[in-house]
Symmetry: C2
């Protein structure tokens, strides 16, 4: 059995964050398919009871432990591997605060918007508009930050870059704006991540449900 | 000058998280009033340039450093004080994952709902309904979790309890549901936090703007 197992599915950007980290550090791992669009919803009672009371993917299985929340798993893997976790205490603090920002502002609204518009194909226009406003506000902060730095914290990639890119390698048509034109610094940073050794697309790291690709 | 200074205001539940931690550990600190409802909005350019590029409170000043994101500041203060940070690596991991959950699900939607309904007195009914659904989903997870445990992680209070209670000591009429009736485990847990030595109300720890109390 591989050292790590990851409950995940290809369309989950939060799962991708962990899968990409496992790829970057060269971990021995295998995915466990979560059939989010089929009959094993993460919000179902059996999943909550057996895998994650928070009703979410990803969940990393390591030895007897089940770990959830991508931001916490990334820190766990950085510490175990000695890679991508920042060079000193100040960098680790900066990484932590940007991971929190990613979780409650940058990823949060983009992922919810994507779920509603791409998969559920539902959502009141007022809600969609509200989420778009929140996405733009978060993107403006990150665009401004990345204008002055190659990676989010320091001059090399860390787990916070892995966290923040989680939803940005999916098809461009899922966004309602032109990322390259409106956010050149974010686009250039994404290009730098894409060029890193062992970077792979979400669909090449995790199994997906064919219906979700329609 | 006190050892710590905290950019904050009484109505900010995220600021309260840090103010309460400073109180619990007996720190030497003083507030710096952020006039969120007056002429010094955290989203203004001077605030972003001088205090926090993320445009948010709280910000903790310690020596030459300015620290933001309540979840990261709480971990920083736990480490420095040796208090409320969990007893071992497993507890610290659990604290981290629940702080992430608090930031992107539990506090996040409640704070946005409160801002729109209590202060801005704006927001499309569809958006308010959307946020209420997200709040209830997060509260159900926490209610279920606290049914089996005295505090969120382990048998004593830690920084994750401080994080999660941030918006729950404001007036009950700000909520649209009866917390004690619908969430008895959350209410009992709040009672345990309220009984801790040096617990104080947000308005007794931080300065506020009189207009916001109307």
């Amino acid at each position: 059995m591989p050292e790590y197992q990851l409950y995940c599915f290809a369309q989950s950007g939060n799962s991708y964050k962990v899968a990409l980290m496992l790829s970057f550090v060269g971990a021995d791992w295998a995915p466990i398919f979560v059939d989010f669009f089929g009959n094993r919803d993460t919000r179902s009672q059996p999943y909550r009871a057996d895998v994650n009371e928070m009703g979410e993917a990803p969940v990393l299985v390591h030895k007897a432990r089940k770990l959830s929340q991508s931001g916490a798993i990334l820190a766990y893997l950085a510490q175990r591997s000695g890679q991508l976790g920042g060079r000193d205490e100040i960098e680790r603090y900066e990484i932590q605060r940007w991971i929190l920002f990613d979780n409650h502002r940058f990823t949060a609204h983009l992922a919810t918007h994507r779920f509603l518009t791409v998969f559920a194909k539902a959502g009141d226009p007022a809600v969609i508009g509200f989420l778009r406003g929140r996405v733009k506000s978060a993107f403006a902060i990150v665009e401004n930050h990345l204008t002055a730095t190659e990676f989010t914290v320091g001059s090399t990639a860390t787990i916070v870059d892995i966290s923040m890119c989680g939803y940005l390698f999916y098809p461009a048509h899922e966004l309602w704006f032109d990322l390259a034109a409106e956010y050149p610094a974010i686009s250039a940073w994404l290009g730098r991540i894409k060029a890193l050794p062992r970077r792979a697309h979400p669909h090449d790291l995790m199994p997906g449900h064919p219906l979700a690709d329609a």
